[in-house]
């Protein structure tokens, strides 16, 4: 158990804003004479003592992750269960937005339904975990678009032609392609955020979430390969690579060469997963490369929190 003074000090050094600081303290019961034990849902507090002055705070990083988890949770919740997160799981700081699009995938295979449900439950759990960790500093769910965004992404990738519609909820195959668009981004986003987190408890939790996202990615990539969907999948990979705004190749499709050899684990030459900075991730989810972008794509009103501009 952390001492109260240590927790207050950590929060003072790491919260996004003075208001965040007050919210953290209030959420933990540290603004009252109450004891410390019941704070932060069994996790350590947020800190960024070693971060450079220009680096985002850990709270900002976790809220950035929460924004991404909202997107994944809504996507999978609709796909698996036909509805989104309960409103009670979408509250918080910033402007709470609605979700456009989304419906249950018309599953033909029980196994595919099981995959979707398992991943949905994990993503919902990630939302709950991060919201619990952030307490009253948690950002609310921003406006999320699960409709036009996918079509725009699919057009950009060359998966469909201009004027056509890509609905990732319309079939099991399209669902896998939609999931693929997210999963590798999640893996690279968590790995890229790792250097911004120094509190051991949060670093461990983030590593755990990264691992789960990588499991998801592996499942999705394998299913895409087994279902002969390498061509559109590789196009999406190329599109992500272009969108992230870097010259370095941080994305890989699910096949290599012309013979269709599987490439199910995207890694660098050392067998290590790629990293993307928050700005590179924003470029992808906003579907807009470049800097200074504040909204677009899957987040028509932008992300909530400090990390929202590419």
């Amino acid at each position: 158990m952390f001492k109260k003074s240590l927790l207050v000090d950590m929060i003072n050094r790491s919260s996004e804003t003075p208001a965040d600081r007050r919210n953290f303290l209030r959420g933990m019961g540290l603004l009252s004479a109450g004891t410390v034990g019941a704070g932060l849902v069994g996790t350590a507090a947020v800190q960024s003592a070693s971060a450079a002055t220009t680096a985002p705070s850990e709270a900002s990083v976790l809220n950035f992750a929460l924004n991404l988890e909202y997107l994944e949770a809504e996507f999978y919740c609709y796909a698996a269960y036909g509805h989104g997160l309960a409103d009670a799981l979408a509250t918080g700081t910033g402007t709470q937005g609605g979700v456009t699009g989304g419906h249950r995938v018309p599953f033909k295979s029980k196994a595919m339904r099981y995959y979707a449900e398992e991943i949905a439950n994990d993503e919902i759990a990630h939302v709950k975990f991060l919201r619990g960790a952030l307490g009253s500093s948690a950002v609310s769910r921003p406006a999320i678009n699960l409709q036009d965004s996918f079509t725009a992404a699919a057009v950009a990738a060359g998966v469909i032609d201009q004027g056509q519609t890509f609905d990732p909820f319309s079939s099991e195959a399209f669902f896998l392609l939609g999931a693929y668009l997210f999963e590798d981004v999640g893996v690279t986003a968590y790995k890229g955020a790792a250097p911004l987190i120094s509190t051991p408890a949060y670093l461990e939790a983030a590593a755990g979430i990264l691992a789960v996202e990588a499991y998801h990615s592996g499942i999705v990539r394998t299913l895409l390969y087994e279902n002969d969907l390498s061509e559109p999948t590789n196009l999406i990979s190329d599109a992500r690579d272009s969108l992230d705004g870097t010259t370095r190749d941080k994305d890989q499709g699910i096949t290599v060469g012309s013979g269709g050899r599987a490439n199910l684990v995207p890694t660098d030459s050392d067998g290590i997963a790629f990293s993307r900075s928050p700005q590179e991730v924003l470029n992808i989810v906003y579907l807009t490369p470049g800097s200074g972008v504040t909204q677009g794509g899957f987040y028509p009103a932008g992300l909530n929190g400090e990390i929202a501009t590419s």
């Binding site: 309960a86 409103d87 799981l89 249950r104 018309p106 599953f107 295979s109 196994a111 619990g132």
Partner: protein
Amino acid sequence: MKKSLVTAGVALLVGLGTAVPAQAAPGFAFDDRISGPDRFATAVAASKLLVPDDGSATDLVVVNGYATVDGLTASYLAGLKSAPILYTDTGSVPAVTAAEIDRLGAENVWIVGGTNRVSQAQEDAWKDAGKTVTRLAGADRYETAALVAEADDSGLAPEQVFIASGTSTADALAAGPVAWARNYPILLTEAGSLPAATGEALEELGTTNRVVLGSAASVSDAVYAQAGGTERLAGQNRQETAAKIADDAIATEYFDTQSVALVGGTDATAADALAAAPVAGSQGVPLLFTGFDGSLGASTSAYLAAHKANYTTSGTGWIFGGLPSVPQAAVDAATAAVQ
């Protein structure tokens, strides 16, 4: 260690460290009525909600619109195929149904019930139109239900089965959305004895999680034991049993806390409940029955009042069936109950 399905389901509802609103958000109302001039058209309206894009269905389940007991368990089959349920007459296909079949463009037609319910001529016509037609029909409702329950060829046993009365059909209908969404077969029984076909199906399926629907008056304790029941969801009447099923659907089956649907509670409106199962299941919306007299009914009113904190404008208040089935006064009472 295995993940806890039940815990995950409950957690989905309550959030973590987040308070639910103290009362329903202003504006939640039962204002989305899915209906047509008759049961056939109501089923078509529900089908269009489930499959809005023309030509995008692969499968379709057809049952007799006046003998829904044969199709009582069709919700499970429809769920396996992510399909709607449409009604036909014994000898001919009503025009509204025929038009919907054309619109859906489904390649596979699944008939539940014998040729005395859905004629051979209809089956032949669909085959002539190039569709693959499969008929599931037993000697009686119990055997038909058993055949439907064993229709899954995935090799994965159902995670749960429902066992409900074959004569008091409301309980099976209330579970329809869950059966559709979660692929839980519904087997039927007599109140005092377990039909052989049902017993054999239970053995064949191998599913040990067996939820009995309805009170001991519908499924006796002896049958519960003989069937290997593991849980009973039952109330004092069909409305209360439906409410228990709704609670269970929300707590353990990932149904939406923020939405709910009303359907007529009389035997005459059973067709609307069955037709509602696919679209309600696809959006995780539990079904509640109105009272026998056309009012909202005390049990349903109490359920809605107890859950009003969950209902927000993000959710939907559905009504399945026309005004004769669910009078507007009952709808207004439901809206009032959640304020």
